[in-house]
Each structure stands twice: as C-alpha cells, then as structure tokens.
Subunit: 313 residues, 4 copies
C-alpha cells in the first residue's frame, strides 16, 4: 500500500491573545467558530464539513504550531510513519481527541523546520440548528453569514531557506505533485507550487531571503466566491483598522487575491478566488521564468503584495 | 415657479402584523430599521441617508397607505397643492412629524385611486455609531450588513384600470418624464415607465386586467450591487420559506430582477440591478410593441414573473 | 492494476448541418474551433488544453455518436476492455487518429444504450499564435475571446429508462463515485449524480418518463466564471434567436445554470457555474428526497427548466 | 433663462499616431469606432447613443484639444457665450459639423488653461445593422462586443496649478455642483469633485505639484458593469503590453478603478464601476480631510495609483 495525502486539512496558529485573534478571524474575516476549549478556538469556513481548518492557540508569542494534512485513508497515517522513520525523521504520535474532533495523528518536521501533521479522521459537526441550510449540500444558511464569509481553506504558503530542497522532499516523501514552479533569472528556484489533492495548488513553498532564515508561514488562503468579495473584504478590513497587504491577481495559479493580517498575531490570511482546476491526468508542471511576469518585484500579474513579513513556527 | 418632483421617496405599506412583516423586511430582506413607533416601523437601505424609504403600519388588512415623493424644493409642496386644487383634486395637508422624520406634506388621489404624498424635507439620521462607516460617503459599515442588503429604493410598479390615463395625468400634472412605454398588439397601452428623477425609471404603471380593478401596487423595487445578489437573495428567501415570483431580466429598463413576497402581508419586493441611466437631455421615450420581446406572456427578456397578485390601497 | 476513469473528455454530437451547428457552438456559444475535417468540427473551451471536448459530425439526423472519457493512464484502456468483455459487453477498438487528436480507444454500450468511449491520450494543440496568452497557465489571450466564452466542459446529463440500473452499472464497472442522488416520493430513483474525476459531478443520470424510452442526452454543460455570464449568455442567445430553457440554480450540485439549444440540431448546452468541490476523501453521497426542494416540478432550487426534450444516440 | 450644462460629452485627444492610438482605444479597450475622417477618429462606448465621447486627432505631440460638455438645451450655448463674454472670457464659435456629428458650439479657456467646449446637439447614429441589439434600449448586440467593452463615458480628471480657483470658477460660471472635496492637512484644497449632470461626479479637479504647472488631463473614465471587468481589462492590458497604473477603489466617489495608458500617446483611461448616485435634492458636498483615508500617498481607499503623469492641452 502506498499512502497518500488527500488534502490540506488545517493550520494550527499560535497567538498571544486568543480572544483578540478570534475576533479578527471570526467577526472580521467571517470564519465560523465550531468549538472553543480553554486553550484553543477551532474555526472553519461556511462551506466546510470538517471540524476545523484553522485553530488559534494561546502562546507566549505568535507562531505556527503545525500544518495538518488529511490522508486518503486513516491507515495511511501509520504507513507514512513507517516511511518517515525509514527516512530518519522523528515521528511523534498524537492521540485521538488531543486536537478537538481529530483522530490519531503523527507530527514531524519537514526540512527545513516546518512542523507537519498527518491525520486520517476528523469529526463533521453540524452547524447550530438555526444556522443549518435547508439544502442538503450546503452547510450554513446564508441568511446570517458574514457578508464576505470565506467558503473553505484553499492553500498555504510557506517560506524556507532552501525552498527547492524543501519542495523536493515533500514531493518525494509525501507524494505531492508539482503543479507550477518559478525560477529566477540566475536559474535558482523562487517558488514551487505543490498539489496534495491533485486538482489545484495546496502548498506554495517560497525561497527566503537568507539560507538560514527560520521556516515560516507567509499566509493561509481561504476561497471566496468571486472578485467582488475581495473588494468587499478589503472594505471590511479598512473599516476595522486591519493592516492589508494588497489586492490583485497572481500569475501563478491565476487566482485573484486580497491579503490582510490579524492585528494581534500578525498571521496573514489571503482571500482567494478564480484559480483553475487540473483534472488532466497528464498535467505537466507549468514552468515560469522570472521575466515571464513583469508586474514589479513581487512576481504578480495584477497588483501585488510587497510585504515579506511572515510568522515562524 | 414651476414645482418639480425630485424622486421617489418612500412607500407606506399596511400589514396585519407589523412584527412579522418587519422580520421579513429587516431580517430576511436586509433593510435597516431606523425608527419604531407604536404603530409604524420605518426602514431604509444601507446606502440611504433619508429617514425612511419603506414603512410598515398596522392595519386590519394589507394595503398601501400612500406613496411618498420628494419635491425638488420644500416650497414646491405648496405650489403643487395649488396646481392640484386647480385641477379639482382634493388635497389634505399632513403636519411635520406626523410621519416620523418628515416635514409638512400633502396627500391626494391620483386617477384612478393611487394615494400619493408630496413632501420637501426629510431628516437624515446617522446610523448607530457602531454601524457607521469610516468612509464619509458610505452610511453603514458593511461588516455587519445583511449578506444581500439592498442599497436604496429604485422604483415602484402600480397597476391601474386605465393605465394610460393614469400615466398621462402623472406626466402632465406632476411633470414626470416618459422613459419607456409598451403597447400591446391591439394598440392599447400595457405599461408606461416614468421618471421623476430624470435619470432612470421611478414609476411603472401597468394595465390591470379589468377597467374596474382597484388601484394597486405590484411591487417596490430596491437596488442591489449585481446579479450575484439576486441569486443569493433568492437563496435567502428559500431558506426562510418566503414565496418567490421569479428571477430574470426585464427588456424594459434592462434591469435584472428577483421578486419575493412578505409571507404576512403579501407585499412584493423586487431586488433590482443593472438598469441604465439617461443622462441625455434629449432622451426620447423607448417605444416597445408587444412582439418586440418574446419570452412568454409576461413581457420579459430573460425568465419571467407570471404572478398578477398585488395589493390595493 | 485497477483501471480508472480520470474525467469526462468530450461529447461527440451528430447534426444534420455541421456548418449551422458550428455557427451556434462557435459564434454564439463561444467555443473555439480547433480542427475541421471533411465530416467533423472539433471544439474546446478557452481554458482547455486537450484537442476537443465537443465534436460535431454530419448525420442524417441529430444524435449522439458517443461520450468520451479519459482514463487515468493510457494502459487503462486495455484493462477496461478486459473488464468489459468479462462483463459480456461488446468492445470495439478505435485506432489512434480516427478521432482527430486522440490515441487508441474503445467504444461500447452502457446499459441501456449509452455509447461510451474510453481513451488515454489526446493531443494538446496550442492556440493560434496570435491568440495565445502570455500567461504560461492560460490558453487563450482574452482580448479576442467571445464575451461569455465557456472555460471548460463540466458535466453531462443523460436520461435512461432505468436510470438507477444505469447508474449502478457505471458505478460498479467503471468505478465512478456517487456524489449525490435524488429519490421521488414513491421511493424510486429520479437521478444519480456521479463523479469520474472525484472532486465534482461529471455525469447526471436521470429517469426517463417511460421504461422503454431510448437512451438520450439531455445536455452537455460547460463552465463559465460567474452568474453574470449566465445573464449575458442568455442575452446573446436572445439576440441570435436561440431557444432557451431557463436560468436558475440547481439544488443538486448547487450550480447556477442557463440552458440553450442549437436551433439546428436541438442539442442543449448548459452554461454552468458555482458548483462545489469534494476534496473530502470521506465524502458520503448527498441523499435528496423529492420534497427537499420545492421549486415546482423540475426539482430545481431557483428558477427551473421544464423542457424534457433531449437527443437520442 | 439660466443656461445649464447637462453632462460631460466627450474628450478630444491629440496623438502623434492616430492609427496606433485607435488600435489601443478600439481593439484593446473596446470602444466602438463610429466615424473616421482624414484627421480624426470618433469613438463611443457600447451603451452610448451620441456620435462620440472620445476623439483622436493627429498632432505633433500628445495633447488635449478640448473637453466637450453638452448643454441642457441647444439655445443654452449662446446664453453661455453671453455669460462668458460678460466674464471677460474669449469665446470662439465652431460651426455645425466641424466636429463630426455635432451642432454649433463654443470653445473657451477655463482658468488656468483648460479648453472647454459647449454644444447642444449631437447626432445619434445607429450601430451598423449587424451589430444592433434587438432590445430597443440597447445599442450594440453583445455577441460581438469586446469582452470588457466600456459602457459609457463617466468622468474626467484634470490637474491645475490652482485647483481650488479652477473648481470655484467652474462651479460659479458653469453652474456645476460640488459633490465631494478633499483638503490636505495644511488646509489647502487637494481636489474638488464636481457634478454637471447632478447625479454623480463628472469632473475631478486636482492640485498640481507646482502652481505654474500647465493645465493637464490625468485621465478619462469609462464605466464598466462590475469589478470583474477591472481584473479582466487588466489582463487584456497585460496581454497587449499596455502600461497600467493600478487597480483599487477610490474613497472619494467609492468607485472601483483600473488605470491604463495608451502606449502611443500616454493618455490614461480609467475603467470605473460602482460609484453612487445622488438623487437627493439636498445633497451636501462630502468633506474629506487628508487623514480620513489612509491608504498611502495617493488618497485611495483600496490599492492605489501613484503615477502623476498626465497630458497637457
């Protein structure tokens, strides 16, 4: 049996003030709070069934506790544990329920320092009865949704001191596919855009300025319905005094974006829409070179984001 | 001095249950409640500055109390009173404040039975402080707006036993412009589409089936940002068990629409978007004949609404 | 090795007048013509890389020649041939290039009469040089695209005299997943909505009125960016005198739709947008019962299509 | 009789290469060419009835020949001529037809150097028969429209060495209304946003860096349907190598924008959508102070444009 990763599951963020960060992610961004324990708040988008796709845990300072990936089958978790140990990677097991709603899981460090989690099972709690849609295939009745409520987690961007090595390791050991990649003029790799689910980018790995920069998360992206939501979400950010890092369209993935940061923790969220699906079984990675996209320093096609700020693990 | 009507101001609706109707227009439709007196609830859209554009008053049964039009200048009210009396129309004066927020006004009956009101001044209350936008030219901070909150009142459609006579009277005595009209194959007028504000249709006057049908209101239209709002509003209506009368696009005005009815009072609201502006000082009325638009019996261009139900005064 | 179907590939339609039908699908709908042979025109959407997703072939009368599905690997074609023959199904081989751009393929009849094709390889011709986008992950430069050019094929709806039997056979023998299904009040199956690609509905199988009705195709759906395209495409259809069968939103799949028919052949195309992705490895089929969606006879959530017309093979 | 300006009519631009500029404004931007004379190309948007709203005339170098405003009545032109001469302004008359499609007009210089034209009548040529919409109130059948074809001229932004003086003169002598204005921290006026038509901003007058800067035009704005058009138009610009100056949302007017420049002439066009209407007869100018909008140096609410480049008369 060859174990497989099915999709990006959740990102477990640390914040110095859970209440304040929760206010940002819930009241301003529009994620739904599913469960609140003493230390952690668990959230998801309005089109999501699983228990959480983002969590906020109290910590001394902002950080990333781990990035959770769901395996195709529950038994793939143990199979990955074997494979990782054969690669010389330390694997620690997490009991069912330690992370609310989640089955047993393993955690480990990906080169060069990214903490990943693999799990197979996650509870699927119903929305509160008065919020449940009458449609069998819709979770939340939109009547009381936030005006720009994100639908679902879309992808994650991480930064690494050796982004190519990191990407190749994840491709080779975890079995992700390369969907696109981007090389600088000097031939070095700037970013690799991987797919765990097979039909779109789940993980972007970007080169840090310095080889010894700590592993970091640049942003977590959630999907919204269309570009009008990007403008409306930007308006909501401005109204609430939230720092914003740009609106535009990526060349890579072709998705349109709007970036904002939790004022408390500095964690950045991307509102994302419009990316394409790769249903093609023979998809070859899209190869970009630096001068293929010309809109300024930040390698975007429309507009841009020039903030390098990101949060380490 | 030639008095002028500046725009459609508000529609004063009667309902057998103000609380229930208020729940529809506020919680489901997304209008904002500005003031609530013992008998009447006053509402407006999120982009409106005036005190109200819709009111709901308790009555034995559903009805239309009056349709309010704002004059270009406050002193035009008295000038219109003179003109109307010269036409043999009974005019009654309404003191300032009888209708919350409103200056003194006159009321009278338009042929064949439509109760109109003319007023010059209306209070412009701020939104509650915590809802006020930071933008000087935006009323409500969108953070807590209803997901499909209408922006502003757009137009009114009334039905009359002699729609042509009614339209010509309003054109000649009140000075409205003909923006479009629509004739049936037999040469009779089906509908006249008038503009009080001069740049778009404010009042549609449609022929009833029978010459002795009572004067009636078919719908009040509020504007939303785009067609996605029509689908989302339809979803909200379905989730709340609200009867819906169609989604589509008018040929006349070219606006896209979605119709829903207050389950308590039967009053119909149109969510409307996409109509054109006539800034042209030499605009000639658009003349339609019945076979110019072919989408079924109801003279629409896309989709349709076949419900003749409407509420009398 | 267990062979797998990767995705819906193309639908091969027959028409009494290829030029006229081509004018509809190309000039009015906005599909791109990739190749034109003596008998057949091959088309695709502006976001597609494969040689064709729709073809039009001359025939005495309108019909469906076959529905093409791409296998996960080229060698899965032969593996499916073995499996089908073991099931007692007649399989015929089609040489590479018989269908322009396509590798070798098999054709066979699915109960009760649907002609399917399985192939592994398809050419990926570049757009004409002057139409090629500067973006590495976009096919056609939008400058000269049709205003509502569809992006890509989305799904197919077929009708069968025993829709449940047909769906179960396809599920069991071809390995499609059930994504949703819909049962009538009498407990019988009205429709089964299958996924070949694993992340969305590719094939809807609907019950014909009579058990002995011939196997038929109701529509082929292509994806557009958003609901504004549905209204604009409806406008384009009206301008060109094309019969249209409704605009609205499905409850099943939650996609918004607009239906139009080629005036020459009667083949129906759906413009489709807004459906959800099932990245969840543990997705359970959504089970609908007849009274879960109440918008009239045609089981839609918003608006509807009441035309039963469809084209047989 | 008090003469009135009804609306912004057209902007007459000069370019060193009419063919090249025409290619930009027609093929890339999507304006329709209505007439082509030896020296001048006349263009309009797809929802416009008048002969032209933009013209391109051959000249040694890029410039602005004049800005045309239509009066409420044809006889207002002469009345304005009298008023202007009474103000000591030189007025020159332009015969009917000198500017294609236009009745007789006057031209004069507004302080501090802006060349304005007032005219009362303009021809309304039909689109070519094969392009005419079947809808009585739509000009061009959308089937062959450019994917992001602008609807109509919206407003003009001019820069002046004494923007306040210029604005007050236009307000007082031409009778424009102040719709919004914006003051810097030092109390000086940065911009005044005037309305000729009475329901939206037609003319923005912005302070140049230096008091002796020549009068200049910063951009001409055309309206599109929604924000998706802004992204799509930006894509079209990128595909065609056109320089672009930003995408975002103004605080003033609340309109969303995308700016691009004709590579040949440097003239800037704004794609604009989403501004509000002021139907209120008692509208008071919106007063902004510099720190009311905080998004960087360029006084925008979302994104921004930092290019000061503009073209003189």
């Amino acid at each position: 049996m060859s174990p497989e990763v099915a999709r990006l599951g959740h990102v477990a963020l640390e914040t110095p003030d859970v209440e304040e960060s929760l206010s940002f992610f819930s009241d301003t961004v529009g994620l739904e709070v599913v469960e609140r324990t003493a230390e952690t708040a668990y959230l998801r988008g309005v089109e999501e069934y699983d228990h959480h796709t983002l969590s906020l845990t109290a910590a001394e300072e902002s950080g990333v506790d781990h990035v959770g990936w769901q395996t195709e089958e529950p038994e793939h978790v143990a199979a990955f544990a074997d494979r990782l140990e054969a690669e010389g990677i330390d694997v620690s097991w997490v009991e069912e329920g330690v992370e609310a709603g989640q089955g047993e899981a393993i955690r480990f460090e990906v080169p060069n320092g990214h903490r990943f989690e693999l799990y197979g099972e996650m509870a699927k709690p119903e929305p509160p009865k008065e919020r449940r849609s009458k449609l069998k295939n819709r979770q939340y009745d939109p009547t009381e949704n936030h005006p720009t409520a994100p639908n679902r987690i879309d992808h994650l961007q991480i930064w690494d001191g050796d982004a190519l090595e990191c990407a190749e390791w994840i491709r080779d050991v975890l079995g992700f596919d390369e969907q696109e990649y981007y090389d600088l003029e000097d031939g070095s790799r700037w970013g690799t855009f991987l797919s765990a689910c097979g039909v779109k980018i789940d993980l972007a790995i970007v080169q840090s300025e310095h080889a010894d920069d700590d592993a970091a998360v640049h942003h977590v992206a959630f999907e919204v319905d269309g570009v009008r939501d990007l403008f409306e979400a930007h308006n909501v950010m401005n109204e609430n005094g939230v720092p914003v890092d740009g609106i535009g369209q990526h060349g890579i993935s072709r998705g349109e974006f709007m970036y904002a940061r939790d004022p408390t923790s500095g964690h950045r969220i991307e509102f994302n829409t419009g990316s394409y699906l790769t249903l093609d079984p023979h998809w070859e990675p899209v190869e970009w070179e630096e001068n293929d996209i010309s809109d300024g320093d930040d390698h975007q096609w429309v507009g841009g984001i020039d903030s390098l700020e990101r949060v380490t693990y």
